[in-house]
């Protein structure tokens, strides 16, 4: 076979693989949304679940998902950004910096179920929180911490050094330069990172089984973070794997579609302002 023919065949093959990947994704989306959306009624989205009868909703679970999300972001973003600032600006070539870097890498490789067990040991057991939304949020925060650190470090590194130098040359302190110049300039990339970890927080289940628990509070909405709080993804797993109610499959499908839609909306809601911000920062190019 001549090299030309091989080249053409190869090109065809690569196009095919690209298309196959898109098709798999499309099929997924269509399947999930197609089977789940019919079950999405007002009652389903906001109603209370049933233990034994059919017709339950996922209102409390949906609420808990967002509650956990927000709490975990409140914990992971400040710590992650500060650690990222340390690594990109203050870190010098010493053992401590190496230690921190290896720690971030190691933390990012920990499987989620190990986080779950750790969260149980630390928050539920040692700190006596039992199953709680707070414990769950804190553990999810641990999961997202390394991503936030890495995203912050990269975001700050891509800000041109000249901004930093200009600020210092005008007599600012380092903290002022960070707060007023670097962080705002790094904001679009930071937001992208936050979207990433928010998606993970919404979809996380293995961690929350052991920290936030498998049942929901009796009244809704319950803002007490010390109460047990099953989230939507945990509920999806529970209903899908251990079907107790007769319409378990429908609930699972509906929950899956709902989860997906929430993640998608979140992505879009954050991506659009981020793009606008980016355009404004780069002078509208």
């Amino acid at each position: 076979m001549s090299s030309k023919t091989t080249d053409r065949l190869a090109t065809l093959y690569f196009w095919a693989s690209g298309i196959v990947i898109i098709l798999i994704l499309a099929w997924f989306m269509i399947r999930i949304l197609g089977e789940g959306i019919p079950h999405l009624s007002w009652h389903f989205i906001f109603g209370k679940p049933e233990e034994i009868k059919a017709g339950g909703g996922v209102g409390p679970q949906l609420f808990n998902s967002f509650y956990v999300l927000i709490l975990s972001l409140v914990i992971s973003i400040p710590i992650g950004v500060c650690a990222g600032i340390y690594l990109s600006i203050y870190a010098q070539k010493n053992w401590f910096t190496d230690l921190v870097r290896i720690s971030v890498e190691a933390l990012s490789s920990v499987p989620s179920i190990v986080f779950g067990l750790f969260g149980f040991l630390l928050f539920a057991n040692l700190l006596g929180l039992k199953f709680s939304i707070l414990g769950g949020a804190a553990t999810v925060a641990l999961l997202n911490l390394p991503v936030m650190v890495r995203v912050t470090e990269e975001a700050i590194r891509t800000v041109p050094e000249s901004y930093w130098e200009a600020s210092l040359a005008l007599g600012s302190t380092q903290w002022q330069a960070i707060r007023k110049v670097l962080l705002p300039a790094a904001l679009p990339n930071l937001i992208t990172g936050i979207t990433l970890i928010a998606g993970r927080a919404l979809g996380e289940s293995a961690i929350l089984i052991y920290t936030a628990g498998l049942s929901v509070s009796r009244f809704f909405p319950d803002f007490n973070p010390l109460k047990m709080g099953e989230t939507l993804s945990v509920h999806l797993w529970y209903v899908g794997a251990e079907a107790l109610v007769p319409d378990a499959k429908a609930i699972a499908q509906g929950s899956a579609a709902l989860l997906l839609i929430v993640v998608l909306i979140f992505n879009m809601l954050v991506a659009i302002p981020s793009r606008i911000l980016q355009k404004r920062l780069s002078g509208g190019k």
């Binding site: 190869a10 690209g18 999930i32 992650g80 500060c82 600032i85 490789s109 911490l145």
Partner: protein
Amino acid sequence: MRWVFVGSAALVSAIIFSIIVFVGMQGLKTFQGVSPLEFFFSTDWTPGQQKFGAFPFLYSTLMLTLVAVVLSVPLALSGAMFMAKIAPKWMREILRPATDLFVGIPSVVYGLIGLTVIVPALGKLTGGIGYGILPAAIILAIMILPTILSISEDAIRSLPVRLEEASLALGATRWQTMWRVLLPAARPGILTAIILGMGRAIGETMAVFMVIGNSPQMPKSLLDSTTVLTTAIVKDMGNTSYGSTWNNALYMMALLLLIISLVLILVIRIVAKRSEVK
């Protein structure tokens, strides 16, 4: 202000250490109730009779990861090469967000698809019930595809242009250039991608749980119900009481998962160091 930053960085280190210590200590308590030999090599897992042979879980974890990687890598690498060198701009604009979207789908949703579509399909195809390593591997392959693809793509893209130029200037076709020059040159980055994909596959719990069958036995085929390390923990945790050997054994499995992940990170660092300096 500076100390806030240093403190945050130190906190990160403290966290990973406490994880290793907490999980490790709890897990090592297992050996108060069962010998390491039995734990690692016995295939009999009957906690009711104080039998804690975790070998089936280790074996199935290995099998599952291997099959998932074998299924995923060819398509992922092809996609990576496509996106890095062949796809026109408009195609990349579609594929990039598409692979990002893949990553955003929660694992339980993957599990549900596995449960409602792949398991029944395999069941019809083979006449069995359809659970086992195979459906789990298929789902995992799709889950780790975006990881392997995007890191490999970055590796290929970051190769210096002059390598490609040199090859083309000698009269090579695009395929010859990719196969003989670019892929070998990007090998460290691609290896890293595959190892990271492996790490994800080993640590995945929920999706696997829904399709693998969950009986604690050695699988006799790819379509035989079995359990892996992650699902063993999820399945039994609720039935055990804190402090019992059974419970500790689950922590031991978590420790094993942790160690495997850390070893993989180490391997990646070694691969990165040994790659040729350009």
